[in-house]
Amino acid sequence: MKQPKTLFLVAIALLPLVLVSCISSGASVPRGWAGTVVHDGIIYAGTRDGRVVAINSSTQSQQWDYAFTSTAIYTTPIVDGDLVYVGTYSGQVYALTIARGIERWVYPRTGSIGAIVGTPVVANETIYVSSSDGRVYALDTIYGDLKWKSEPLAEKLWTSPVIQGDTLYVSTFDGHIYALSMETGELLGWSFESEAGFASSPVIYGDTIFLGSFDRHLYAVTIGSNVSMWKFPQEKPAGNWFWASPIVNEGIVYAGCLDSKLYAIEAKTGEKLWEFDAGNPIVSSPVLMDNLLIVAAESGNVYVINPETGSSEQIQDPLSSNSNAPSINAQIRAPFCAYEGLIYIRAEDNQLYVVDIDMRAVIWKVSLTTK
């Protein structure tokens, strides 16, 4: 009589554990969404299994790959001179040779500076890295030596810094934009504070910073001012966050939103010119090429859009027999790049897709999983 009772109680106690195991916890393993960059006919991309690969665009074959130890990559590789730079989620910055992918230096040599999520920027032989420890690090591009590190700016920095003149601008999840000296990393006199946190990395056009916020607005902030120039939408908030960094061209801001829409906004006034519904959240920033706007929905659909009118055409996958199939049969979250009429997209199926804009079609793809 007693034993079944005890077993029953054990079962009751274990039930939550079993149920929690059955239902998704909501905690996902970091996989990374590194983007692509093209340099001298070579495509550099971070993969979902923690490697950087170099692919010859003419032969569509892998030149080399470099595997990091058990980490994800969220930063898009940056090519400068004969090196390619990558920041890892395990909190290290690597410089690899572009020719053979051999490690030139790593910072820090031991330990970590905190997960690197935002893509670093390179200028004046210095690479500027924002880290999850809340600091910005400035490293020498040749030797990887630390030039300076800023004081902690926030609990964590997941956005990319942006440069204008000799100043580095950083946005934070707690709603600040900070201006730092590129020479010393010291905070300069101006900073901006918003009630809501900033979700996207900042973009500078003229003397104005554009960036998305968790309060479902896109902000325009004039450098030096303590109040925002405008917030878009002006009346009620958008349907979700402006997660991707906007792009600005000829006085128009193109901002993708997680509410599935791409908005064209007058940069000076914040007035909406047109909107395009991509049917699925827009996670990657749009790109401009040959006076055409390219935008990708998370579902895999890629669109070519007239930046003046907002009219669109969907990219087709000629390999698919289904006419309703998405442009790419995988999710798109990583930033993509445009180069000589082609778009290079690393999708969540760990494949690289190359889209010919004139043909409005995917022309080839290559797996990034194995060499």
């Binding site: 007693k2 009772k5 005890t6 939550p16 996902s28 996989r31 999840f173 968790f214």
Partner: protein, 252 residues
């Protein structure tokens, strides 16, 4: 719509959004939000809790009669079960009634566990996923991202030993207050094991789950102790020392 979608629509997402909204109302403190949500859940489940306490008390009061039946029909298990059920029916007591409040809380625990993991968005993927689960309330969007630190705890991390001791300790006190004294050495041994098993198990679970969920368990236990104190009128059997404690159990 998959069962998972239904779960998030009905339980998962509402708990997540209430937790995030509470966090904003309470000055950005996620820990305080968990505590207030615990109090709300305990208030909602109060009718069930009261029924559980009454059932427990009634079962305790019936112990002498049950002992009598065991002596009388000890050799005829079927008859014993029948007589016991008859006794329960006459007294209007459901012997499993005390388990319902615990079972009802399981979905809440799971939803809270998921809400904590999702709301704290420890990875970039979690943060992106969170965007699709939040309601379009201003109070929710203004709360993101949440501060995971509370009273020196990182609510998203696991393995906090002090919390494990508090959860196990408070659970032991709560159980000890209600556990009727044993009538023979063999029953004493089983009772002692049961009294230790649940606190040890939850202490162990605390080490495996995020501190935010352990905070919920600890606060929930403390509220349970206070409620029990006032409903049953005192500390119950907490200070009771069994006369069989030093008696070696036959067969061991």
């Amino acid at each position: 719509m998959s069962p998972g979608d239904v779960w998030y629509l009905i339980i998962g997402n509402p708990v997540l959004n209430v937790l995030v909204a509470l966090s904003h109302i309470l000055g950005g403190s996620f820990g305080l939000a968990i505590i207030v949500l615990t109090v709300i859940i305990r208030l909602i489940s109060w009718p069930l809790t009261k029924r559980q306490l009454n059932s427990t008390k009634a079962l305790q009061d019936m112990q002498p009669k049950i002992q009598e039946l065991q002596k009388k029909y000890g050799k005829n298990q079927q008859k014993l079960q029948q007589e016991m059920m008859k006794l329960y029916k006459e007294a209007g007591v459901n012997p499993l009634g005390c388990l319902w409040p615990m079972l009802i809380q399981f979905p809440i625990w799971i939803a809270l566990y998921q809400a904590i993991m999702r709301a704290l968005a420890t990875t970039p993927e979690n943060l992106l996923d969170l965007a699709q689960r939040l309601y379009s309330w201003d109070i929710v969007s203004q709360a993101i991202p949440l501060n995971s630190h509370f009273l020196g705890l990182d609510l998203g991390s696991q393995g906090n030993l002090i919390l494990a001791i508090i959860v196990g300790g408070t659970m032991w006190v709560q159980q000890k207050m209600t556990q009727a004294p044993a009538v023979d050495p063999r029953q004493e041994s089983t009772s002692r094991m049961m009294l230790l098993m649940m606190p040890l198990m939850f202490g162990f679970l605390t080490l495996m789950f995020p501190s935010g969920l352990a905070l919920y368990w600890a606060v929930s236990n403390i509220i349970g102790i206070i409620t029990q104190y006032f409903v049953t009128g005192g500390w119950g059997y907490l200070k009771f020392r069994s006369p069989f404690q030093s008696t070696p159990v036959k067969g061991k």
